[in-house]
């Protein structure tokens, strides 16, 4: 049966992709951010996961407001990306594993999570930046994108996100082949891009979230969605991806953690959580 090795969180800011392209990892602005990644790459190199599930939120490339899935699972053999309107460098398509995707889709709907399946999906920086960060040479295992809506309210509750993750964990572990899986929860932490409150960052709240996501994720489900907007900023709602990732893991040990303000407009958090029973 498939097993989950652990989960990794990271911010997925577009500027990070540009910094990678420009080779700025050692630049004084970027170093406090990029220093978090070599230990995680070493862990991945040691564990050699067979598959990666990348939980991110689309930012208006894969989905528009005409049809906005609350939860979507990629079911394609590969996933292309585009420049997103900013002239971002286009990366080669990311290979997927469609049979595994359909196993997840079957299992999630069986567990009453009525997700949207996507046989074509353009993946944006939310997906691609973490892949570049963790597999800088492009030698990543097959990847399954899972996107949750944070573009338009109503967004999922924190409880729903955690419960989604629990169901996802069951779905992965019920896959009959003996493969190992790592799960990425990307986005966040606190930031607000829009309105007169643009530039809002909340270190105290982020640090609380980074502690509780390890020790007591259930406690975080008491936070309402509007409280999340208030305390994490309009786009800090991406923390839902972390909750989805965390729900899938079960018991964990924290192997690394890094937090840095600011990267672009964002409080950037990076964590590696290893499953204890893996």
């Amino acid at each position: 049966m498939a097993r989950i090795l652990g989960g990794i969180t990271t911010s997925h800011i577009p500027a990070v992709g540009k910094a990678i392209e420009a080779g700025m990892e050692d630049d004084p602005y970027w170093e406090p951010f990029f220093k978090a990644y070599p230990p995680i790459r070493a862990w991945l190199a040691e564990k050699q996961p067979d598959l990666v599930i990348n939980i991110y939120n689309d930012h208006g490339l894969g989905f528009f407001l005409d049809q906005m899935p609350t939860f979507a699972i990629g079911a394609a053999a590969q996933y292309r990306n585009e420049d997103e309107g900013w002239g971002l460098p286009e990366l080669p398509p990311f290979k997927g594993d469609a049979p595994f995707s359909w196993h997840l889709i079957e299992s999630m709907v069986e567990q009453e999570f009525d997700i949207t399946s996507c046989q074509e999906l353009a993946v944006d920086h939310g997906f691609t930046v973490p892949m570049q960060l963790f597999w800088p040479k492009g030698s990543h295992p097959p990847a399954i994108p899972i996107s949750a809506n944070t573009v338009q309210h109503p967004i999922p509750t924190l409880k729903r996100a955690l419960d989604f993750g629990k169901a996802l964990g069951k779905a992965v572990r019920s896959y009959p082949e003996d493969i190992s899986v790592v799960i990425l929860g990307t986005g966040g932490l606190s930031h607000q891009l829009d309105g007169a409150r643009a530039g809002f960052i909340n270190r105290e709240f982020d640090e609380m979230c980074m502690e509780k996501i390890v020790t007591d994720p259930e406690a975080l489900t008491a936070i309402s969605r509007m409280e999340l907007v208030e305390k994490a900023g309009s786009q800090g709602t991406e923390f839902l991806m972390w909750m989805m990732m965390r729900g899938a893991l079960g018991k964990v040990r924290q192997l690394s953690s890094n937090y840095h303000i600011p990267i672009s407009n964002t409080g950037a958090g990076t964590m590696l959580l290893e499953c204890i029973d893996s």
């Binding site: 500027a15 930012h59 208006g60 490339l61 528009f64 407001l65 005409d66 585009e82 420049d83 997103e84 309107g85 900013w86 002239g87 573009v151 338009q152 309210h153 109503p154 607000q192 891009l193 829009d194 309105g195 007169a196 409150r197 643009a198 530039g199 960052i201 270190r203 309402s224 969605r225 509007m226 409280e227 907007v229 208030e230 309009s234 786009q235 840095h260 303000i261 600011p262 672009s264 407009n265 409080g267």
Partner: protein, 114 residues
């Protein structure tokens, strides 16, 4: 009722705003494609018409006024693609919305980390 619904300086992009801004956001979504961006730059007014923008939305776009675009239903993720056409990044937009210089805005972000 959720007690956190009134957050100063923050527009909750919900169904009400999604209806108001549909054409504006659809136009901005089209800018994912390079050809659409070129078409827009060749004839902005014609492009506005094609997507059925209101006069207030057109004026906000002409002025590149992000707060006005949000007020008229724009969603920041799509507006970012509009901003991209003019090579404006998130610090440029942040400075514009908060009435500061880009350097002042960046300093505010740095201070949040201090």
């Amino acid at each position: 009722m959720d007690p956190h619904i009134n957050i100063p300086g923050t527009t909750i992009f919900d169904g009400r705003m999604a209806m108001k801004g549909y054409g504006l956001n659809k136009m901005c979504y089209s800018f994912n494609g390079a050809k659409a961006r070129a078409d827009y730059l060749a004839d902005p007014e014609g492009y506005f018409e094609r997507y059925g923008l209101s006069e207030a939305q057109k004026q906000a776009c002409r002025d590149k006024d992000v707060l006005a675009m949000i007020r008229e239903g724009g969603n920041i993720y799509y507006l970012a693609k509009f901003a991209g056409i003019y090579k404006l990044n998130m610090q440029d937009i942040g400075a514009q919305q908060t009435g500061t210089s880009v350097d002042e805005f960046k300093e505010k972000l740095r201070k949040a980390g201090a």
